[in-house]
C-alpha cells in the first residue's frame, strides 16, 4: 500500500515535473522570441538615435541650407567646408541609371520565366540568376573597373570610364537578380484561373501578361522594384570603386561623381571622432536613411492603393 502510494506520488511528481519543465520551456522560448522581436526594434531605434546624436551637431557649424545645397566639400581644409549637393545629385544619377536599366529588363525577364518559359528552362535559369545576387559587391566593383569602364569610355567617347554611368550599369546588374526573383515569385502567385479566364475571352498570351498577370502581381512587382532601388541607393563598394569620385555637381551621368555612400566610406577613416567631418558624415548617413525610408513608405502607399483597387 505504502509502496504503491509512494510510487503514485513519484509518478505524479514526475508528471508534474515534466509539465513544469514543459511550461518552463514554453515560457523560455516565448520570451526568447519576444526578445528577438524587441531586439530588432531596439537596434533600429538605436541606429536612429546614434545617427541623430552624431549627425545633428554639424548643423551648429554649417546651417542646414548650406549643408544640403552647398556645392563645395573640403573636409580636410582650414576652415573646412561641408556641402553635400554633389553627393546627393550623384546618388540620384546612379540610382536613376540603375533603375532605368534593371526595371524593364528585370520585369520582362520575370514575365518570361513565369509565363512563357517551359518549366525546364525556368528551373535551370532561375537558380543561375539567383547566384548573380550572391556575387560580392567588391567583385562587381572589380569587374566594373577592369572590364566595363574601358568599354563605357570608348562607347561614349569619354575622358575616363570611371563615371556614374559605369556605376549605374554595375548596380543594375546587382539589383537585377532581386527584381527578377521577387517579381517571378509574385507573377507565379497569380491564380491560374485568371489566365484561363483571359484566354477564354480570346486574349493573346501578351495581352494576358500585360493586362492580367502583371496587374495581378503588381504589389509583388512593386516590392521587387523597391528592393532593387534600395540596393542601388545603399550600395557602397561598387560605386566607391567605379564612380570616379569627382566633387563637381554632376550634370550628366557620364561624368565622374561621388555618391553619398562612397563619400561616407572614403571619408570616415580620416574623421576624428566627434569632429566636424565625423559629424557631417553621420549627417549624410542620416539623409541616406531618410531617403531609403521614404522609398519604402512610398512603396507601402502604392501597395495599399493597389490592394484597395483590387478589393473593389
Amino acid at each position: 500500500m505504502l509502496e504503491q502510494a509512494s510510487k503514485a506520488t513519484t509518478a505524479t511528481s514526475l508528471k508534474k515535473g515534466l509539465q513544469r519543465r514543459r511550461r518552463l520551456g514554453e515560457k523560455f522560448i516565448e520570451s526568447w522570441i519576444f526578445l528577438a522581436g524587441v531586439l530588432t526594434i531596439v537596434v533600429l531605434l538605436g541606429i536612429i538615435a546614434l545617427l541623430l546624436k552624431e549627425g545633428l551637431p554639424i548643423f551648429l557649424d554649417t546651417p542646414p541650407w548650406e549643408f544640403f545645397f552647398g556645392t563645395k566639400w573640403y573636409p580636410v581644409s582650414e576652415p573646412p567646408t561641408f556641402g553635400i549637393m554633389p553627393f546627393f545629385v550623384a546618388t540620384l544619377w546612379v540610382t536613376l541609371v540603375a533603375t532605368a536599366i534593371s526595371v524593364p529588363i528585370g520585369v520582362a525577364c520575370a514575365a518570361y520565366l513565369a509565363e512563357v518559359a517551359p518549366a525546364k528552362v525556368r528551373e535551370t535559369v532561375k537558380p543561375i540568376i539567383e547566384i548573380l545576387a550572391g556575387v560580392p559587391s567588391v567583385v562587381m566593383g572589380f569587374i566594373g573597373l577592369m572590364l566595363l569602364s574601358p568599354l563605357v569610355q570608348s562607347a561614349f567617347n569619354l575622358n575616363t570610364g570611371l563615371s556614374g554611368l559605369t556605376a549605374g550599369i554595375m548596380l543594375s546588374l546587382m539589383s537585377l537578380p532581386i527584381i527578377i526573383s521577387v517579381s517571378e515569385d509574385a507573377l507565379r502567385a497569380v491564380p491560374d484561373d485568371f489566365r484561363q479566364a483571359a484566354y477564354a475571352l480570346g486574349a493573346t498570351r501578351w495581352e494576358t501578361i500585360r493586362h492580367v498577370s502583371i496587374p495581378g502581381a503588381l504589389s509583388g512587382v512593386t516590392a521587387a522594384i523597391m528592393l532593387g532601388v534600395g540596393r542601388a541607393i545603399g550600395e557602397t563598394m561598387t560605386v566607391l570603386m567605379v564612380a570616379g569620385g569627382a566633387l563637381a555637381v554632376p550634370v550628366s551621368p557620364t561624368e565622374p561623381m561621388m555618391p553619398m555612400t562612397a563619400a561616407i566610406a572614403s571619408g570616415i577613416g580620416n574623421a576624428v571622432r566627434g569632429g566636424l567631418q565625423y559629424q557631417s558624415l553621420f549627417a549624410i548617413g542620416l539623409i541616406l536613411f531618410v531617403v531609403t525610408l521614404a522609398v519604402n513608405l512610398v512603396a507601402d502607399r502604392v501597395l495599399e492603393r493597389q490592394k484597395r483597387k483590387f478589393s473593389r
Binding site: 574601358p150 569620385g245 569627382a246 566633387l247 563637381a248 561621388m258 572614403s266 570616415i268 577613416g269
Partner: protein, 303 residues
C-alpha cells in the same frame, strides 16, 4: 516554478560579476612601458599621421609577432592631432609627416614634454602619366594648375590636344593633404597661395592601386602614387621646381639627397630620448630588417 525562476535570476548577478571582474583584471594588466632586461613586455600607443600609419602598422605587427607580450595601439587621425597628443601626454610616440612647429615645441615645453625627433623613413611622391603621353616633365606651377582645373588640356603644357584626367587620392589619405599643401598650394614659390584647393573635376580614388591602374589604361590620366607603386606600365614625370630649374626624376637617390621636390621625411616624436620598450621598438624600425618593410609599404628607406 517561481523558485526555478528565482534560481535562474540568482545565476545572472554571479555571471555578470564574473564578466566585470574579468574585464577589470584584463584592463589592469595592461600597464604602460615596463623597462627591462630580457623579453620586452608592456603596451604603448602611436598616434598621428595618416600617411605613416600603414608603415607603422606593419612595424607594430611584426614587433608584436616577435614579442608576444607587447601590445601596440596605432591610430592615424593626422599629424597635427598626433603632435597635440604628444603635448598632452596621451601618446607615447607621435608619428608625423611634417616637422613639428616652433609654437608646438613651446607648448610642449610648457607642459614638461621634450619632443625628440627621429626620422624613420622618407616619402617621395612620383607623378605618373600613361606611357603613350609625350610629356616628360612638368613644373610645380603646371601641376598646381592641372589639379585646380585651370589647365584642362595636355596641349597647354606642350602635349597633344587631349583632355587631362587629373586623379588624386580621397580625403582619407594623408597624401591628399600633402600633395595639396606641397604642390597645389605651391609653397616656397612666388605664386604660393594657401587658399588653393583641388578642382572639382579631379577624380578622388579610394586607393593608390586604383589610380595607377587607371593611368595604365587611360592615355589622358595623371596621378601621384608613392615611389613603391611605380611599374613599367606608367611613366614617371621629371618635376621642375621652377621653369628654369632642371627636371628631377623620382628615385630613392633623388629623394635622399633632397633634389626631388616632392619628398618629405616621415618622423617619430617621443618625449625625450626613448628608453625601454620604446627604444626597442624604434631600434627595430631603424634596423635593416625594419627598413626592408619601408620599401614593401612603398616609402623610401633611410639607407
Amino acid at each position: 516554478m517561481i523558485t526555478r525562476n528565482n534560481k535562474y535570476r540568482k545565476g545572472w548577478p554571479g555571471l555578470i560579476l564574473t564578466v566585470i571582474l574579468t574585464l577589470i583584471a584584463g584592463c589592469s594588466s595592461q600597464s604602460t612601458t615596463t623597462p627591462t632586461s630580457g623579453e620586452p613586455s608592456g603596451s604603448f600607443s602611436i598616434i598621428g599621421s595618416n600617411t605613416v600609419t600603414p608603415l607603422t602598422s606593419v612595424w607594430a605587427e611584426e614587433f608584436m609577432k616577435a614579442h608576444p607580450k607587447v601590445n601596440i595601439a596605432v591610430s592615424g587621425p593626422g599629424s597635427g592631432a598626433g603632435i597635440a597628443s604628444l603635448i598632452n601626454g596621451t601618446t607615447d610616440i607621435c608619428q608625423a609627416s611634417r616637422t613639428i612647429k616652433q609654437r608646438e615645441i613651446d607648448q610642449a615645453k610648457a607642459n614638461g614634454v621634450e619632443p625628440y625627433e627621429i626620422q624613420v623613413a622618407t616619402d617621395a611622391l612620383s607623378v605618373v602619366v600613361n606611357p603613350s603621353n609625350s610629356i616628360s616633365e612638368l613644373t610645380i606651377t603646371q601641376l598646381s594648375a592641372i589639379y585646380t582645373n585651370q589647365i584642362t588640356n595636355w596641349k597647354e603644357v606642350g602635349g597633344k590636344d587631349a583632355p587631362i584626367v587629373a586623379i588624386a587620392r580621397d580625403t582619407n589619405s594623408g597624401t591628399h593633404v600633402f600633395f595639396k599643401e606641397h604642390v597645389v598650394q605651391m609653397p616656397g614659390l612666388s605664386s604660393e597661395d594657401k587658399s588653393l584647393e583641388y578642382g572639382t573635376k579631379v577624380l578622388l580614388l579610394p586607393s593608390t592601386e586604383e589610380g595607377v591602374s587607371e593611368v595604365t589604361r587611360n592615355p589622358n590620366a595623371i596621378f601621384y602614387p608613392g615611389l613603391g607603386y611605380l611599374t613599367s606600365e606608367v611613366k614617371p614625370l621629371a618635376i621642375k621646381k621652377t621653369a628654369d630649374s632642371p627636371g628631377v626624376l623620382p628615385s630613392i637617390e633623388t629623394a635622399l639627397d633632397g633634389t626631388y621636390p616632392v619628398a618629405r621625411p616621415l618622423l617619430y616624436y617621443t618625449n625625450g630620448i626613448p628608453t625601454g620598450i620604446l627604444k626597442d621598438f624604434i631600434d627595430y624600425c631603424l634596423s635593416s630588417e625594419g627598413q626592408v618593410k619601408v620599401t614593401e609599404v612603398g616609402y623610401v628607406p633611410l639607407k
